[in-house]
Symmetry: C2
């Protein structure tokens, strides 16, 4: 498995992963019926960079990195990660998050913020905690979960400079 910058051609393989996750509607604040054109804008165009985790010509997962706030907030980046449902449990989220932290430092960022981690997504929260992210905020009932109704959302944060 190798993590490298995503190409235009990769997006064809990123889209099914994005779509399978978003259509379930349990973890990301994107509409469940997000179109491929909108997904392209959100995942490939708006971020500063997008990476793909690839193996034998297949895309297993992807992440983006972007500046979280402009001007006096622009030293903090934001990332989003998706892993193919078939490739869960292999540590891909961990590998991509570690890679993204290196990328962030290379791009000159000093901290990384996750704005919107759904509190029911305990697997992701455990991984981010293990990688040094602190829960710095809790937004009450900020996510409308398809099965559980309004649930809380965490804001997680890590200062990258040592």
């Amino acid at each position: 498995m190798k993590i490298r910058e995503a190409t235009e051609a990769d997006f064809e393989k990123i889209w099914p992963i994005f779509h399978e996750i978003i259509s379930v509607g349990e973890t990301y604040a994107y509409p469940q019926d997000t179109s491929i054109e909108e997904a392209y804008r959100l995942w490939m165009l708006f971020p500063r960079k997008t990476y793909a985790a690839v193996e034998e010509g297949q895309v297993l997962g992807s992440y983006y990195i972007k500046t979280n706030q402009a001007g006096p907030g622009s030293h903090v980046c934001n990332c989003g990660y998706i892993v193919s449902i078939n490739e869960r449990g292999r540590g891909l989220a961990t590998s991509m998050c570690e890679h993204s932290q290196k990328t962030a430092i290379e791009l000159g960022y000093k901290a990384m913020q996750f704005n919107f981690v759904v509190a029911t997504n305990v697997g992701a929260i455990r991984i981010w905690n293990r990688l040094g992210f602190d829960t710095v905020g809790r937004l009450p009932k900020a996510f409308n979960h398809p099965a559980r109704g309004y649930v809380d959302v965490l804001v997680m944060y890590k200062w990258l400079e040592s």
Copy 2:
């Protein structure tokens, strides 16, 4: 003083207020040299609605309201407020925030979130607290203050339904 939806013509009078606040660089995560064109996009175009506080043909302040997160997060709105430096201390921020909460409910939102309240902006924090907003997060050193260096940022939140 009256609060009403901002017109294209109002923006000419909103811009000097926006510019005087942003160029100081102490409270908003916009670049200090934000251009008038970019300010128009940020304040008038991207938000769902923009309002102006007017009196005798003058604009004293303005606020925008927009959806904070898409899809399963779209029941939470975000607002930003600016008050002319000459009109401080008259309760305009309070009036605009109360107005924005009514607007939010009319537009179908259930909660309001301020994503980025600079911790040194104690005047604003006191007003938001008095109006029922809770501090639900604290982002360490997320704002590069021109005089104080890296300072914390608060996330504030209010559930609007009673």
